[in-house]
Symmetry: C2
């Protein structure tokens, strides 16, 4: 069966976004400090058609393996609305993307295989549909923090993948604020390190 | 010159202690989830004379290398008062330990080379004295969170060493609450992984 995994860029102080960020957060200084390593990788540059050779080291392997696992992406409405303004026409997902929202809206098809579906019936129903269309691949919870916390606290996530960037974001948006610590056990699956970022991969076990 | 480094055990959600902890926090379930790996290592078991062979893998090497660097330990008064009730007579430091406190108290000598000195004139003066007696070795800031934050924000720390245990502590004491993110740059120096814990070592650069 499809696995469900969270994959997020995070700062050393546990933030996934800067304090006082606007809807145009993507591309800001703090956002780039978290995600700059992604833009250096060949697989991402090719996916986004932004030119340049890009790197082919361990971070590129990590990203390639992660992309290849994903059958469906799930994200919250804030992340979608930020991205809607920032992503190129050929959006960087290349899968169906389920957007958790109260908004009723027709699917939005982009070039390159990304179609956004707006789902209105909650996280569990969204996951059920995601599994159906994932074609045996895995389901990725992309964020934001609120959506990740909901899925973790509901016991619906199999793996937590954190890419820890060497930066502090200060009083920003903490990924694990409100986490139900007592119900969630973690086991180290894999640690992958480069000079730019540290990838931590945990299996999640009920406890 | 001596380097100044922070070395702390931390949870995946960035906590160094449980919520609602008492002064008898050491040994509690959350505390053990953070620090259990230490008790499994040969160098620590020998240091504490608690018997059993202990492990000799990468975590033991990491701990051995860290212990060997330390000329002086610096800690806050809360950490000291917790430890005063919990540490064995042969306290697990084997160096001079400077306790930052307003309390005026004679040095407290323990078996095995640990002597606690109670310093009343602030973090900079304590560090100056620590450098003098470190004998060319390094100065470790042991904690708690408040003391670590003060030293980081004052720009007095060269290296940040985090041992990330695979656990969430929930609404506990966050190591980096109140960090002056804008003044502190980080560079990845080393990542060392085992099945039990992930050691992240960062060089600190002013920015």
């Amino acid at each position: 069966m499809s696995k469900v995994f969270v994959s997020m860029g995070i700062s050393v102080d546990g933030c996934v976004a800067e304090p006082n960020r606007s809807i145009d957060n993507m591309g800001s200084e703090g956002w780039m400090a978290l995600h700059r390593w992604v833009f250096d990788q060949r697989v991402f540059r090719e996916s986004l058609k932004i030119g340049g050779d890009g790197e082919t080291g361990p971070d590129n392997d990590y990203l390639t393996n992660t992309f290849q696992r994903i059958g469906v992406n799930i994200m919250g409405k804030k992340m979608f609305h930020e991205g809607e303004r920032a992503w190129p026409e050929d959006a960087p997902f290349h899968t169906p993307v389920f957007v958790l929202t109260h908004e009723v809206r027709e699917p939005w098809e982009r070039k390159g295989g990304t179609t956004f579906y707006f789902v209105n019936d909650g996280i569990e129903a969204a996951l059920l549909r995601a599994r159906e269309v994932a074609g045996g691949k895995d389901v990725r919870i992309c964020g934001g923090a609120d959506v990740v916390r909901q899925y973790l606290n509901a016991g619906l996530v199999d793996e937590l993948m954190l890419s820890v960037a060497p930066t502090f974001l200060g009083n920003g948006l903490r990924l694990f604020d409100g986490i139900d610590a007592k119900s969630i056990g973690l086991e180290i699956m894999e640690v992958l390190a480069s000079a730019k970022v540290t990838h931590l991969r945990y299996a999640i076990k009920k406890r």
